[in-house]
Subunit: 355 residues, 2 copies
């Protein structure tokens, strides 16, 4: 934090030593378990970070939107999976065709109508079928994977397999059980595809909380997103510890009153994500017992009642966002601090690329 | 919405007819009640919108950060109030001096140490004392306004009065009572300043929910922010109706399953704000009985169980964010649709200007 003393707060800062350790750990895990690693780029939106993931063995990148795919393809990422059941318009199809001139693009389907539309705009596109493994967001019941796959193939698409996002792993105590659900759902979906004559070569899953519980006898590929940076949610899920959080927002204490301090970073700097199961609106790595009791746009109110140490007015304090994916999306650049304290700036190139 | 049919979703769109009506209504209210109107620019971050507010009689703009002040000053706004107890560094002081060459800047203090620091960097700066009227975020107890004002004046600052943000008005049934608390707090703080020989010329308050209950016998100035656009929170607080919401995010239905639909706009397009008192993660103006049951980064899951009408897969559906201030901060531009259906784009120039 001393390295950033001359910069105005709030400021999103990445500790490169922690970042590299996080990248190494996941790459080694995937390699040892035999998973292809296709990290989700929505977390970092940064070509520099994508390059580090690929140099450590990632087979390509996962993204959520056509806009993210455009930016990573332009940055030279040659293998992209848009893990989202896009409803293709001519506008998005035109943009996808341009991306496909530079990169292999894998797309997602979870309805017969969506697959038909995709085939209409992008004949012979490569797709996987999205399966619901318990989050109940998008994706079909695993037993319906064959129906969707069959109709996609009949429409001319190349159906390569199945994927799921086990997002219900975001609850304390749940990741291990969700790993089992994920494997069961993908196994059932694989069987459903085989029953209609399609070989599910790709069987993709994995969120950062559940990835340690992914089943290598079923899954071929994992798509964790948050792991390079980690965040307060991962700490509170037991996935990592506070020292493993690489990205924090450096803030200034602007108000102090008894056990209460107010920091100059709020929901516009760290995001408003605040699930009921979290203990607050983020965590302070240097003050593990303090809690962010509320976040407004430019204020984080922190309760230091249970904290032996407390900051003074004007002190700089690091705040770990609850959800780093939305925090990164709020800033144009990340300040990277290396082990010498030297600063580099990485643009968040895909920030705001929602469409 | 037909006017934006050729644009990719998600897309933040403003209905100019509704926008102008909202601007007119607040300008007329302030004028009739005798309040100076100093709208909060954090909501729109747009010089075009600031110009419309000023052309309707606003005396200047409120902002939350030095960065916002820089951008509005560069756009020609000549009267700016940074309603935030900044802890001044030499970096921020240098930026403020540059702004002060082009605009009158009013600053905020809520501690003796903060005032001393401010006076050290910016001698003779114009300030108001922040008072806590019940939100318990920043600001001092009203009875301490005189202490802070006295020390600020002794340090050389020009103390012009007091302000409060009655943010606890954001709760159903509370705005009227909060209006009374605001007036009581400002009256007490005004008395406290007078007791140390300072005339509280500025007595500033007002949030969008509570502004209708602001007391013109106490307040001289109101600072509503959300009113040009409105949002789902204002609807659920009873401050406006769904047709008064000028800014919505146009989305596409990407998944449909029984009573559940999933839209392609999530927390990265509309913000993750979801207080416990809201009925969901936003509202759908065309489907008043539908509820957004969850938001992830690129998915809004909507329950249509209680809705007589429901959309089809691929339909475009408008989503009113819960909190428009954080939604606007997620996009680089707003698409303005006029009464002919003609589109204009306004840059969100101060997006991300947190520091």
């Amino acid at each position: 934090m001393a390295a950033t003393a001359g910069l105005d707060t709030p400021l999103a800062v990445v500790d490169e030593v922690v970042l590299n350790a996080n990248l190494d750990r996941m790459a080694e895990f995937a390699s040892a378990a035999g998973f292809a690693l296709r990290p989700h780029g929505k977390t970092h939106k940064s070509p520099e970070l994508a390059a580090r993931q690929i140099s450590r063995g990632a087979i390509g990148l996962t993204v959520a939107t056509v806009g993210e795919a455009e930016i990573f393809a332009a940055a030279g990422v040659s293998d992209l999976f848009i893990a989202y059941p896009l409803w293709l318009t001519e506008g998005k199809a035109r943009r996808l065709r341009a991306i496909m001139e530079h990169a292999d693009v894998l797309l997602a389907v979870d309805s017969t109508a969506g697959a038909a539309r995709l085939a209409h705009h992008l004949p012979h596109a490569r797709v996987v079928v999205e399966v619901d493994s318990g989050q109940h967001r998008t994706g079909v019941h695993p037993q319906r994977a064959g129906d969707i796959g069959h109709s996609a193939a009949a429409a001319g698409l190349q159906v390569l397999g199945i994927f799921t996002f086990p997002g219900h792993s975001y609850f304390p105590g749940r990741p291990a059980a969700v790993g089992v659900q994920e494997a069961n759902a993908l196994a059932m979906a694989a069987q459903s595809l085989r029953a209609v004559g399609i070989d599910p070569v790709i069987r993709s899953g994995g969120s950062t909380p559940s990835v340690a519980h992914a089943d290598p006898t079923v899954l071929t590929e994992i798509r964790p997103g948050v792991y390079p940076f980690n965040d307060a949610q991962q700490v509170e899920l037991g996935v990592c510890s506070l020292p493993d959080v690489a990205l924090t927002v450096v803030t200034t204490v602007v108000h102090l009153d008894g056990n209460k301090a107010v920091l100059d970073a709020g929901s516009k700097a760290v995001g408003a994500d605040h699930p009921a199961w979290t203990t607050g609106g983020g965590r302070l790595p240097e003050f593990g017992d303090a809690r962010v009791t509320s976040l407004s746009e430019h204020h984080a109110t922190v309760d230091f009642t249970d904290s032996a140490e407390r900051p003074r007015l004007g002190d700089r304090v690091r705040l770990a966002p609850n959800h780093v994916c939305t925090a990164v999306n709020l800033t144009d650049e990340l300040v990277i601090v290396d082990h010498h304290g030297t600063l580099t700036r990485w643009p968040v190139t895909a920030r705001g690329a929602n469409a």
